[in-house]
Symmetry: C2
Subunit: 257 residues, 2 copies
Amino acid sequence: MTPGKLVLVPNTLDLGTDCEVDLREVLPQAVIDRAARLGHWVCENAKTTRALLKRVDRLTPLALPLQQIQITELPRPPKGGAAVRGAAGTPDLKPLLAPALAGHDIGLLSEAGLPAVADPGAALVQAAHAMGLTVEPLAGPSSLLLALAASGLNGQSFAFVGYLPVEASTRAARIRELDTLSRRLGQSQIAIETPYRNDALLGALIEHLQPSTRLSIASGLTLPNCRCETRSVQQWRAQPGAALGGRLPAVFSWLAG
Amino acid sequence: MTPGKLVLVPNTLDLGTDCEVDLREVLPQAVIDRAARLGHWVCENAKTTRALLKRVDRLTPLALPLQQIQITELPRPPKGGAAVRGAAGTPDLKPLLAPALAGHDIGLLSEAGLPAVADPGAALVQAAHAMGLTVEPLAGPSSLLLALAASGLNGQSFAFVGYLPVEASTRAARIRELDTLSRRLGQSQIAIETPYRNDALLGALIEHLQPSTRLSIASGLTLPNCRCETRSVQQWRAQPGAALGGRLPAVFSWLAG
């Protein structure tokens, strides 16, 4: 028997917002059709996975009734992302992939965008490779790269640095470190934040980056109220009302000038 | 009059391969529909842009005859990507955006995937921001992030480093430098190569990375012959026939163990 594949299924970017986009705005039709056929899923959150499958079902009827689709949540990773780096103490995820050994394709879904990027799914992909399973990524949106594309910053050298520290003085030091790194390498830096802290991060970036650094914000990507703006830090400082509000996911990127 | 937007239109990942994927495999229906309505384009290559518009037309009829659609090529950037970083001597791209001032949306298209990522389009996005135009990125595939997702490497901290040097000893030094950086930062490193040099780069990576570093190759992403494999360098060394061949675009990523 041919083993099943681990299929990386992209999600929308509207979770937690007031807006539910039409899936056809952000997912290829073939991805919607493929999702409708999968009977086994591993995800971050079973409830939001079921919600997505209901949206899929309205466009392409699910092959199985929703109640018969097996949905398993990933174990929550320890703080600091150690699970992703395969540190000791990582839970054994191979049992989650058992259906593939019985010939079933398994969908991996994250809460937003591509699974295994900026989320705990990478450990499952690692386990799939260790078991010799085929891993198949399906085309879909990544908020990080949509933000980078829309920034006009250097798209030929960039780094995603995840979340910055929350404590103000540690965060300021990290921002200055990343600004120096950006200048030295000519490398765009990309960071994310929990929406309710967006404005705190934006304020800290405007305060601590060099005036000539170009800073880009992208919020509500793929949503009707999408906003992508890039200005020098000097210009941001001169402009009142830079606030993003705390509702929409945002991506921050900058390139030292 | 409301100015037009600069619309970042994703492309397929099949350019230069033997395979022409159905657009519905990789692009959302709304993106296909939007592309069909745009009468002004800026691109890397007018011929491949017309070829894509013909594929769009078979699914959603173009709003204008192809002959009436204005397609302008970006100036070729100088070697080294200086144009992207806005160095002195960068050509003034604002004239390319003149149709937006007359109220027309302009599509920006690259040869593969998201425009302005790993291609010369970022300079046009920068010019759009400088003119105060709205920049709207549309959801679509990025080979870099599909490869990262499928690698199982750290998706919470990663860097795209572009092309590595071609000369063997310089390339070896760069590979060792990036391996050390990956170990120090826990950061996945992502690189690309011109397909005919894929196997030379793969061989150099297998030779010069540390044995415990995990190395991932992703070739033919979104194509029927897609291949995504991640192994330790030690395992790659023990396995004959790691060759990719010189036909398919590939993405290389690694994470020091």
